[in-house]
Symmetry: C2
Subunit: 144 residues, 2 copies
Amino acid sequence: MSDVTLLESVFRLFHLVKKELHLQIDALGLELSPMHIRVLKVIASGACRTANDVVQWLSRDKAQVTRLLNSLMTQGLLAKTPNPDDKRSQLLALTEAGRAVMTQVEAIDERVIDKMSQDLNPQQITQFKSLVAAISRGLDAGER
Amino acid sequence: MSDVTLLESVFRLFHLVKKELHLQIDALGLELSPMHIRVLKVIASGACRTANDVVQWLSRDKAQVTRLLNSLMTQGLLAKTPNPDDKRSQLLALTEAGRAVMTQVEAIDERVIDKMSQDLNPQQITQFKSLVAAISRGLDAGER
DNA sequence: CCAAGGTAGTTGACTTAGTCAACCATTAGC
DNA sequence: GCTAATGGTTGACTAAGTCAACTACCTTGG
């Protein structure tokens, strides 16, 4: 466990985070995966109004996003309405049920984040985020 | 992009890391996935002598490990020999080809890690690792 | 104004990652 | 020496992600 590379740290961390997320999700009995939750969140927050927004925001493949949105729709959490600005596209909005689920999702998020940060002070949290941002910058450089 | 939770940062970071890893892997034309590489590494390092060691070390399901090891064997990179201490178990060792691939794997790792750390000074790298450790501690607490 | 190229979204087929349960063979503990 | 635990394998499954092909629409340059 002692000397682990940057790469290994990230793998281990992500695995723990996903596990914790799963725990909290089925503690509340939700039928959602982590990605479904992320999609709900970006729509609820107003950051994404169309499927393409979600694709951009989460940097995911549009095929994947289509399927995530469809399963949220068949679960009755999401509705698509025609986009007046572009007939190829539809506007996304949470249904009443979707908004209800969001309050549970917020509880899950809060618990996971609390657990992640319980050994950190606020300054360390900021520090962590800015280190992540710096690493991401490094990884982005030279692409595209 | 501005205010992102701890949770979101981790998701985004992991996604970037995996993408970079894929890029480097098929830049070298290797037929390996990130998990195969991690398994090769822990065996090459001497940290894991049996399948069960790998299970413990990487915190992965034993079914998954069995399959990873098998595909490394059919690729001729890994050999199993009977474990004299336990007839249920086999000792893992890289073949000649496996050791050859490891030198390429090391190159990949180095490139990815270099890219991740190009905007960081050595102190920040240490800092990041210790923050990851602290977060992991928080997530582990209360389990088991 | 209209053809050509680009964009939004969908679908099919696929790979990788991970999980759960059942099962064998062996080993360890009383 | 029987029972319970352990190491490993297999089957069946879900989640996550990728690539290519395709439809329908939008945009632009001649």
